[in-house]
């Protein structure tokens, strides 16, 4: 019992030391990335083998996503270690540009899925089409809103 308590305290000390060095927000997002990696390994371990093509595709895509996530976390850590901010107007603008591009590209991806994947039920096709329409509506409503209200200072959250 005492050993377990010591172990927990030790982990707590390590977390506190990291928190002081890189900040709470970064620590949480870093933990999220690690959790993602652990879940991926767990899935790999528990999944039915051998994998089919879809399995490999899902694993590959998830792995690339985690690698990119780790890269960004390392960048954040480097900046915070130098005493710099981890998010500024340039990173926010990049994020905005990336989101808007991803959003518009996703329309074509969904259309591709609906058109080229043969064994989708007609009901699922309707749901996907509805999802696409709602996505477009959300985009247009946001566009309308910002064109009427404007964009306040980008440094404000």
């Amino acid at each position: 019992m005492l050993e377990i308590l010591n172990f927990v305290l030790e982990i707590n000390n390590i977390i506190n030391a990291i928190k002081m060095k890189i900040g709470y927000k970064t620590l949480i997002s870093f933990m999220g990335t690690i959790l993602g990696f652990v879940l991926l390994v767990l899935w790999l371990y528990m999944a039915k083998k051998p994998f089919n093509a879809t399995g490999y595709l899902i694993f590959g895509l998830s792995f690339i996503m985690i690698l990119i996530g780790v890269y960004f976390k390392i960048q954040t850590y480097k900046n915070q270690r130098l005493g710099l901010t981890s998010e500024d107007e340039f990173s926010k603008r990049i994020k905005e540009r990336a989101s808007s591009k991803a959003f518009s590209i996703s329309f074509y991806i969904w259309l591709g899925i609906i058109l080229f994947v043969k064994d989708i039920e007609p009901k699922a096709k309707i749901i996907m089409g509805l999802g696409l329409l709602v996505m477009a509506l959300v985009f247009l409503l946001n566009w309308l809103y910002y064109s009427k209200v404007g964009i306040s200072d980008e440094n404000e959250d």
């Binding site: 960048q75 130098l82 710099l84 998010e87 107007e89 340039f90 990173s91």
Partner: protein, 63 residues
């Protein structure tokens, strides 16, 4: 848009990290500003010019 940030930074003996710290941005932002691949907000342009004790138009030059 061209900038004189790199030249002025060398004149003032500042590293990219030091300049980034003074104006509250990441080092990468300074890198892209120096390369002329990012147009800063008016506030950031003002802050950077203030570091070099110059006017905005003396640091950032429109082509």
């Amino acid at each position: 848009m061209k900038t004189r940030i790199k030249e002025l930074r060398f004149k003032e003996n500042l590293t990219q990290v030091e300049l980034a710290e003074k104006v509250g941005v990441r080092r990468e932002t300074i890198v892209f500003l120096e390369k002329g691949k990012y147009n800063p907000s008016l506030k950031l342009a003002y802050d950077i010019s203030k570091v070099f004790h110059l006017k905005i138009e003396e640091v950032f030059i429109l082509d």
